[in-house]
Symmetry: C2
Subunit: 564 residues, 2 copies
């Protein structure tokens, strides 16, 4: 008889671990215990099922050739037993038994194990807000959540939807809600959208985009209560009241670590604690996927980073180790990507805010630019922010957003982060170039160049937020806008202290500029602004007085006059 | 007075070096000598100008805001002097002078230098084939080549075009030629398309795609002569004769290293030799861009890798060093990308053929799969081949092609190659995942997994070429095709030794299979084939007899019966 392996949880990590160990050790007896009706499904596809890109929810449970991954499939193909509608209720580590309960009839039994895998996933956060149990308030996590929400969208008594939480799931559901004809409000407690992914200055273009699509964004506002008579009719926030026929609660997820904690296994606020072999504090018990704490390779700290990609990798590593191999999973970089109403958003590593919270000194660059050579008709804007450690030049993180291509840049940055690369390594990366794909110097390389220039003392730059503070404090400085007159017509800063000299005239007219005030140079994206700053220094201006506005007028998230 | 810096060549590396040193050292006197009419243009955009994606050739010479980068621009904005229509004819390294000649009036003068930059680029190869000087035979390198070719396409006496060379430029020009209504033939001396980028098995799907668009491909055939009366009318190859109203000669490029060689500077077959500082054998002379030999970070050998991206990076590094900094450029990974008639092709690192030529033992994987989760309507196929060093697991190269997304995977692989990553590092890379972008386990990660499985002895696989040889030798083995009956109807191998057992039945029916013959398992892409092989081993089949067909039937480039 082979060793008995029990796997708790049948969505991503669990089935992967079960099938992997069975491939490596066919003698193992492997059983998966899953409390739901379905096994091994693509939960991340749910927003696209709601929207119609995925025609049938069953598509999320099939293999690429259309075979349903059900109990029979797992038995026949994988040699793995599956118990559906079966909840694991407790672990007896001394006896090495898991007690499971049939959720339909309540019958309990004890499953003995030699090795156990906990892959219990996560649950949506449901804070104890008054009225939270009213009908019409939905979460989106499981297939049946998806089916219920889709039905609720079709049957809602009216067309007012409120999304609570401007995180990934909440924003990914804007498209299906708008497509279904809802008026959509988003309530987010933190002051900006995707607060876990982005720095505030990077969230601004995203928020403008979302608003431009007709969504009402209420950032920096929390839900006080849900009101209604049996079913939800209003969301009362700290600042306002919003009619609601449907509510999507998308505040985040919490690891399902209860069963592990109850069994005396080490857990933390961010889930079950595991080592690099994904072994818990009990050497016979492994854990992976959304229920465990991850290790952030950039900060060296524990984080909670529930991702379908990581869960699948965890499954493979656990499968290896169950079979007696010695495989490790060192950690994650916090990579994420999403498309919000046609606007791409991606992040890897840590934000500037994260880095400063870690006490790090950083250099950043802010580069809005086309994703392909500007002469290609199909080129589209992307905003990129890069964060590096000041003293070492080590890359810490990248944020990218806009209508243009983000995936190649974020994945490249993730690979660089994994290797502990510096911005110099980033510059040297031999990224692919051809006009239908990318500029000769990729946006990622330009972002690294800007940080190199700052590190090497070629330019001093203010972030938009720093300049805004100067304006608010009434500081005496001038903007030097070096764009062409035509560009100026299209978009300009609405302040009185703006001097306009097109770049080609800066050498000639430098003498007209004040030498006693700070000069903050800018152009569209601040590449010409940088040229202007270098010219002024060459013309003898005090370098300490010559500054650059990071990201130029395109990245300026505050007031501007636009006539496009 | 500042130091005198002369830069020979005004396309990419030269202007970049000139402007960079001027920004770092405003006192420098910098002059660019360019033999053409134009400076600082996007030569890589020429195929897209021919095709119409770039409306005006002038767009290739403007900044992103539409300012023309002409002599005045360089003077006013960059502080750099430009001599157009001026050819550098010789370098006197003792006197530190460059002799230049005005190509219009032949007047010569000597330009003294403290530091010299050679950025003379490359020239199209024009072999001494009989008739090569006939009218109607074009190359594509400079802006004026582009303008002439576009005019020639409009004015050609007929609609027969022959492209000589199935390299990047030749294939990128298929789209403009087809759009302009030409019947297009491609003649390539080597046996397959993009021979410098791909292994033959990877070139097959590309060649099928090109042929499906109506292009006649003549691979493994060389041009014997061009014939015609003043203007070209026929291309006579070793095997056939093709009517031609227009010929595009796209055999490749050679570094313009003559002026350096004549001056006694070290040069090789692949261009001017430079160190990591891009300094030539003369410490006062730098060189960069298409005229220099590159260093391949994967093989540790010199290669010729003329790329606009590299040329721009070279310019920055040379600018730094001209200013007295100490910057290095270590090398390239041979990354390239292109879109051929809607089919993407990308490569980084080295091919299996390259690796074997280096005497390396390798492991490879061949993974055709959707670029997004299969349940997303927008998912498209990509073929990926990964090559790793057998003993160390070091990643050596990746080739990707198909209608789907290739850029993110190739750039990620390039970043991994740069860091000397192994396939285990590749697996652990925290690539971005969301259904509109990528599968939970990215294609690159799956490709690494397949190599891990081979390395770890979980599966023995044959490449399609190896299996084809077995067939041709008449070896006695069986194919085990484990796809569903429906899949079988759509596409199948036309051989008599194919046994069909759907994967779900393999455990039950294993006993029906021969134990004395080799069994080569396959499915659509060979993931289920791998499952089948594991099942057979678990059922006691001799592991040495159980094999996998790499890449499944999708990657099988030979005979197959298709009813789609």
């Amino acid at each position: 008889m082979g060793r008995k392996i029990v796997v708790i949880g049948g969505v991503a990590c669990g089935p992967k671990a079960a099938c992997r160990v069975k491939r490596l050790d066919p003698s193992a007896e492997v059983v998966i215990v899953e409390k739901g009706e379905e096994i091994s499904y693509g939960a991340c596809g749910l927003p696209f099922y709601l929207e119609g890109e995925v025609p049938d929810v069953k598509d999320l449970t099939t293999t690429p050739v259309g075979v349903v991954r059900d109990v029979n499939f797992f038995k026949a193909v994988k040699g793995v037993d599956v118990l559906l509608n079966t909840e694991a209720v407790s672990i007896d580590r001394k006896k090495k038994e898991v007690t499971v309960r049939n959720v339909k009839d309540g019958a309990e039994e004890a499953l003995p194990y030699d090795k156990l895998v906990i892959a219990t996933g996560s649950s949506p956060v449901r804070p104890p807000i008054p009225g939270i149990d009213l009908e019409g308030i939905h979460c989106l996590k499981t297939l049946s959540d998806g089916v219920e929400l889709k039905k609720a969208m079709e049957q809602a008594p009216g067309k007012n939807a409120v999304v609570v939480g401007a995180g990934l799931i909440g924003l990914e559901c804007l498209e299906p809600l708008l497509k279904a004809g809802f008026n959509v409000h988003v309530v987010e407690k933190l002051p900006f959208a995707l607060p876990a992914l982005l720095d505030e200055e990077m969230a601004v273009p995203l928020m403008k985009h979302i608003t431009s699509k007709g969504v009402m964004l209420h950032c920096g506002d929390g839900v006080a209560s849900f009101e209604g008579d049996g079913r939800v009719q209003r969301v009362v926030t700290e600042k306002t009241e919003i009619a609601a026929d449907l509510v999507l609660l998308a505040i985040g997820f919490r690891p399902n670590a209860g069963i592990a904690k109850d069994a005396g296994i080490d857990t933390g606020r961010m889930g079950i604690k595991v080592d690099a072999h994904l072994r818990t504090s009990d050497p016979d018990i492994y854990a992976g996927g959304d229920c465990v704490e991850s290790y952030n390779l950039v900060t060296g700290r524990s984080i909670y980073a529930p991702m379908g990609s990581t869960a699948n990798k965890h499954g493979r590593i656990i499968g290896d180790n169950l079979a007696g191999w010695n495989s490790t999973f060192l950690g994650v970089c916090g990579t994420g990507v999403c498309n919000i109403l046609g606007f791409n958003v991606a992040r890897t590593g840590i934000t500037e805010r994260d880095a400063r919270n870690e006490g790090m000194e950083v250099l950043t660059s802010l580069c809005p630019a086309p994703d392909k050579p500007h002469y290609m008709k199909g080129s589209k804007l992307i905003h990129m922010k890069m964060v590096a450690e000041k003293h070492t030049g080590r890359l810490l993180g990248v944020q990218i957003l806009g209508p243009g291509e983000v995936l190649s840049r974020i994945d490249t940055a993730a690979a660089l982060l994994k290797s502990g690369a510096t911005i110099d390594d980033c510059f040297e990366t031999d990224m692919a170039y051809a006009p239908p794909f990318s500029p000769a110097l990729d946006n990622l390389i330009v972002a690294a160049n800007v940080i190199q220039n700052k590190r090497d003392g070629l330019v001093r730059a203010y972030t938009p937020a720093e300049v805004k503070e100067k304006l608010d404090r009434g500081e005496d400085f001038v903007f030097l806008d070096v764009r062409t007159p035509k560009e100026l017509e299209q978009m300009r800063l609405p302040y009185e202290n703006v001097i306009h000299i097109p770049l080609g005239m800066v050498r000639k007219k430098a003498q007209e500029l004040p030498r006693d005030k700070e000069i903050i140079c800018l152009c569209k994206i601040s590449l010409r602004g940088y040229e202007a700053a270098r010219i002024l220094e060459a013309e003898g201006f005090n370098p300490g007085k010559v500054w650059l506005l990071d990201g130029g007028i395109v990245a300026w998230p505050y007031e501007k006059i636009v006539n496009m």
